[in-house]
Amino acid sequence: MLNPADLDTLLLTFKVASIATTLMLLLGTPLAWWLARTRSAWKGLINAVVALPLVLPPTVLGFYLLVLMGPAGAIGQFTSWLGLGTLPFTFAGLVVASVLYSIPFVVQPLQAAFTTIGELPLEAAATLRASPLDTFFSVVMPLAKPGFLTAAILGFTHTVGEFGVVLMIGGNIPNRTRVVSVQIYNHVEAMEYSSAHSLAGILLVFSFAVLLVLYTVLKTQPVAHQLK
């Protein structure tokens, strides 16, 4: 039912989403921790920047990334100077774009989880000789486990579903930047509805199953609620 090209796009999509999710958790955790605890005047600004991809059309985000990461852009000149070339139309560029596009789906559940934990367990840990870093790993992480699971699942699925940003900066290069959502579009353009059906069906079942786990097993609040 799936031809090899379709299978490649599926594998590529999951590869991008896995790497992007790992990066988002690594970057998003300290960022969410800072946002949850800071009294800095910068908090509002950073919150707004993090939430921007939620409301921005993906093509707008993709457009700016294309310009910034291109040969004339600031990021492009930096990556060229590092000897890495430019990022648009590469797998690495796709990962970078995915991280920026999906990061609010990781940061916001984590931030909510950290805020819910509050000061008291941290103070208890301090009176029991745990340093702040120790406290983060031994108290905060276990207590925020549902937040981490929600963040990982939402970050991953949202990355799997991206389309506009990929089109703008990734194009449609087989085995490098051609992800499932783009491939479905290709099939439809070519009137190959049965192939489109297979891929679309896989994504539908996958997304539904993941959300079902999220809301039944993990008993997470609906996304709209989380993002408030």
Binding site: E123, A124, T127, L128, R129, S138, L143
Partner: protein, 359 residues
């Protein structure tokens, strides 16, 4: 006598200022007493390092925990303390055993830890080790929290209104444990409360705080009988006397106890001769006579010397008398004080209508 705890803090939050300079004993229970907003919890948090007073000096048994002049501020996790929060504040993701082990895993292996089994038995929680905090009652949770703090054998145990969130029954269940702690473990306890009952029951040393200042600091009986603190005027004002059981009068259901300077008769106390007790005597339960009453139903009539007199804003006078070696507060009407022409130095008799045993 040198005092092993020196605490000086100055802190300004705009609408609240804390300014204290205290020397506290290195053993027994020191109660920090005050109404809400008096700064008692802030003071305790400054001692724990959970809050940092910009100007502060804190010496615990010779170890400097804070000296702002020399830029010394030991973070909380490096201070040898135990802290019991108002709500037990156990880690919900760990079992009782996990909570007890949390601190033990983190102290240097050479440092002396407490006898955990002894603490578990003392607090009556050895059967709860496998439970999670949400499977415990409020009283059990608070007892686990106390054990968790004590397990580290800290230099000082800090308790922030540990009973405030519990109902009367649970309080009565835990108070005896705390009294026993300070008899059996030689760790100084700093105990924050706004309850006069807890003061009477637990304190060896009493610090009275109001508006961020220490109004008085001294041994319990002495401080309770000071006329210059609002406590003496309070309707619940009481004196606390340490006594020892000397005789049981089983026919009358009475127990006779000795104090520094005399004997009291109390309703029967179920304890052996020689047992030390705390007796609370409310100021409103005492009256004064100029001569020894010859015919009275009151058993406890004692000779006393007036050492202090004060009037409140209403029609009440507070009289402080010395009975043998102990001070006693008496509330009488101002009219009575004038009719009897009470003066400092006068020899009188006090009649004690009621007493209560605290432990």
């Amino acid at each position: 006598m040198t005092k092993p705890i020196t605490a000086r803090f100055q802190l300004d939050y705009g609408d609240f200022q804390l300014a204290v300079d205290l020397s506290l004993p290195g053993s027994g229970v020191t109660v920090l007493f005050g109404h809400s907003g008096s700064g008692k919890t802030t003071l305790l948090r400054c001692i724990a390092g959970l809050q940092q007073a910009l100007q502060g000096y804190l010496d615990i048994n010779g170890t400097i925990w804070q000296d702002s002049e020399r830029n010394v501020f030991l973070p909380t996790h490096k201070r040898s303390l135990g802290y019991v929060f108002q709500e037990a504040n156990l880690f919900p993701h760990l079992t009782v055993a996990g909570n007890l082990q949390f601190g033990l895993k983190r102290i240097a292996s050479h440092s002396k830890t407490a006898d955990l089994q002894h603490i578990l038995e003392l607090l009556g929680i050895d059967h709860l080790l496998k439970r999670k905090p949400d499977q415990l009652s409020g009283g059990e949770r608070q007892r686990v929290a106390i054990a968790r703090a004590l397990a580290l054998n800290p230099e000082v145990l800090l308790m922030d209104e540990p009973l405030a969130s519990l109902d009367f029954k649970r309080k009565q269940e835990i108070l005896p444990f705390i009294s026993r702690l300070h008899q059996e473990l030689n760790i100084p306890v700093l105990y924050v409360t706004h309850s006069q009952q807890e003061v009477a029951q637990l304190a060896d040393h009493l610090v009275i705080l109001a508006d961020g200042r220490a109004l008085a600091s001294g041994p319990l009986s002495e401080t309770l009988s000071r006329l210059d603190v609002p406590l003496a005027q309070d309707r619940e004002a009481a004196s606390v006397w340490p006594v020892t059981i000397v005789e049981h009068e089983t026919d009358y259901h009475l127990t006779r106890v000795a104090f520094a300077g005399g004997i009291l008769s109390l309703p029967t106390v179920d304890a052996v001769i020689g047992t030390p007790l705390r007796v609370q005597i409310y100021a409103r339960d005492v009256s004064i006579a100029l001569e020894a009453p010859t015919a009275t139903s009151i058993l406890n009539v004692l000779p006393a010397i007036i050492t202090g007199l004060a009037d409140d804003k209403g029609g009440q006078s507070v009289v402080r008398v010395q009975v043998g070696g102990l001070a006693l507060l008496v509330h009488i009407t101002r009219k009575s004080a004038l009719l009897l022409n009470l003066q400092i130095g006068m020899a009188v008799y006090v009649q004690i209508k009621g007493t209560s045993i605290l432990n």
